[in-house]
Symmetry: C2
Subunit: 186 residues, 2 copies
Amino acid sequence: MSDTKTALLDFAEHAARARGFDGFSYADLAEAVGIRKASIHYHFPTKANLSAALMDRYHTVLEGECQKIEDKYETGSERLQALVQLYRDALNDGKTLCLCVSLISSRESLSEEVIEKIRAFRAMMVQRIQSIFELGQTDKTISGVTNPASEARAALALLEGAHLTARAEENIKTFDEAIGILKSRC
Amino acid sequence: MSDTKTALLDFAEHAARARGFDGFSYADLAEAVGIRKASIHYHFPTKANLSAALMDRYHTVLEGECQKIEDKYETGSERLQALVQLYRDALNDGKTLCLCVSLISSRESLSEEVIEKIRAFRAMMVQRIQSIFELGQTDKTISGVTNPASEARAALALLEGAHLTARAEENIKTFDEAIGILKSRC
DNA sequence: GTCTATATCTTGATAGAC
DNA sequence: GTCTATCAAGATATAGAC
């Protein structure tokens, strides 16, 4: 992939996560990357196309990060804490949301293709988190686990909701406060 | 307040919750309410002004709903379940988010005044939820409460995150799944 | 691959008549 | 209070030269 295309994706992801899908334009992208806005259409013919590429890359990167966590840590507790840290880092001190959270709010502006990619991303994350809770239940490093599947869905909702909280206040401390209930079980 | 103004607020709230703050325009409002878009400026000179009015009304209405719950139910458990139901109803089968969730994602498009109103709304809700957990701890109808303040922040994050989940899938069942972890303690 | 130039549409907002 | 008419700015997207 060309440098320009990567730069476009990098800035578009940041902009989408900071301002929402309807909150950035090709003009913003052009200025940030240093080319004319017409040139962007060479790389991404439409904005729907761009958003699909964003979700594809986000899915791949996050799945890779989850894999890294599994490779690095042995216990359920350690993996859960690493996952929380992953989301915490993604916040950028309360300035950016998770891409899929940011896109969902603009749901009606999105193509059906992108909505499907958001669904797929969330399903992947729930599956990964569920396996962490299953491990934590088996190795007894996470307390009070009765239903790993519903724990996983609740954990993802909590992480995303805590993102919103921190974004509202633009203060990462509120993320930690909301997530404390999860960490206290590790 | 005039009928027209109420109709404008009604549709604007629905639109903001369904499509985000950047996802609806004065033209949409005009068509929905049946007046010309220039006429809207008589009621709300600017969109920032309109969004402030939306948050004011939302704050008042939700605070009233919380009060109704306190008046109607005696135990912490009942009040918590009623609150969950309140958020569940607000979802409209996965078609609309909580207003403040929807606005936060478009944070950079908002006036500082509205951001402050969002903060105030959230603080009010956290306070209300905290008092529910305090009661549930005292009357022993909610299990496992150790820190009502952090429980409250986690619960609000979970409710908002569960909203996003259901919105992503446009399926209220995913709300119930994510929130199950909370209801199981009642 | 990137450019200039342009098309077409939509945006929030204002002026002034009624 | 609502209207018509208009504005300037911004949006996505395309055509065609280099």
